[in-house]
């Protein structure tokens, strides 16, 4: 009997002004530009949900976290994205994301 294990995932809270779909497409474009289609496909990028107006939770495979972080940091857009937090579970991320959301209420 073979044990089929699911890939480990990482969840990220990203501050990005336009829509989550735009975040995903610009990140994918940059990742393709930097690492190619194969790595981008393997990273399994996905939008999970939206916390606030500009806060989004996205998911990727843990093996490709470094590549995804580089791509998000180097997004070539008029609206840069900022990675605020990373977690292995959605539950712990959700708790911390609420605190961050409160702290982000800028004057």
């Amino acid at each position: 009997m073979t044990l089929k294990r699911r890939h480990k995932r990482r969840y990220m809270v990203v501050l990005f002004h336009p829509s989550p779909e735009e975040l995903l497409s610009t990140t994918r474009d940059r990742m393709v530009d930097m690492f190619g289609h194969v790595i981008t496909q393997k990273a399994l990028l996905k939008i999970i949900y939206k916390i606030g107006p500009d806060l989004h939770v996205i998911r990727c495979r843990s093996e490709y976290l470094g590549e995804v972080l580089c791509a998000i940091t180097l997004i070539d857009s008029e609206h840069p994205a900022v990675v605020l937090d990373i977690s292995g579970t959605l539950r712990s991320l959700r708790t911390r994301a609420m605190d961050k959301k409160m702290s982000l209420r800028l004057p």
């Binding site: 501050l15 002004h17 530009d33 930097m34 976290l65 470094g66 590549e67 972080l69 580089c70 998000i72 940091t73 180097l74 997004i75 070539d76 609206h79 840069p80 900022v82 990675v83 605020l84 990373i86 961050k100 702290s103 982000l104 800028l106 004057p107």
Partner: protein, 183 residues
């Protein structure tokens, strides 16, 4: 001061211990002495200050100037390495901004990553320091500590080694200045 407050609040969200904030050549009398802020000035103040600072320049021909601590790099030629060799005794910081990397396409970015690696090796050899900065003009352009680590790994630089050497370099540079202490 009210302009600095959102940046300081955002800094802790991003897991950064201290940040550098750029100031022009204006009056420095009103600046406070926040422990986690390093002021980046275009010229050396004429008198002792309350705040910690570094003198920056965007022109690498200023490498020979004795007041400059940190030189921003956006383009490089053969002359740069020669100048860096000559200024090795001053422990200069060579700044590369993420905002500059953002503007480059895939091919140029790959070249710049190779360049960062080469500058890092060169600075290590000659006692200078590579300083990777966000180059942010607003809080939305800031870069978190974890993202800096990912970028360093992309450039084949061990994050632990980089942060330790940056910390030592900063302590050395800041300790060389005269400050006014509140008693």
């Amino acid at each position: 001061m009210h302009v600095v407050q959102p940046v300081l609040r955002f800094k802790s969200l991003l897991g950064l211990k201290s940040i550098g904030i750029e100031y022009g050549t204006g009056n420095t009398d009103s600046m406070g002495g926040e422990a986690d802020v390093i002021h980046l000035l275009k010229s050396k103040p004429s008198a002792s200050t309350k705040f910690r600072y570094l003198v920056i320049s965007e022109n690498y021909h200023d490498l020979v100037s004795k007041d400059v601590d940190l030189v921003g790099i956006t383009a490089i030629d053969e002359q740069f390495y020669e100048m860096l060799k000559r200024s090795s005794s001053k422990k200069l910081g060579i700044e590369i901004a993420v905002s500059w990397l953002r503007k480059t396409n895939g091919q140029k970015l790959a070249k710049n990553i190779a360049l960062i690696k080469s500058i890092h090796n060169f600075t290590q050899k000659y006692g200078n320091q590579l300083v990777l900065t966000s180059g942010a003009s607003s809080i939305f352009e800031m870069v978190s500590g974890r993202c800096f680590d990912a970028l360093l790994e992309l450039c084949d630089i061990k994050p632990e080694t980089y942060w330790n050497s940056l910390n030592n370099w900063l302590e050395h540079k800041i300790a060389m200045r005269c400050y006014i202490c509140d008693t």
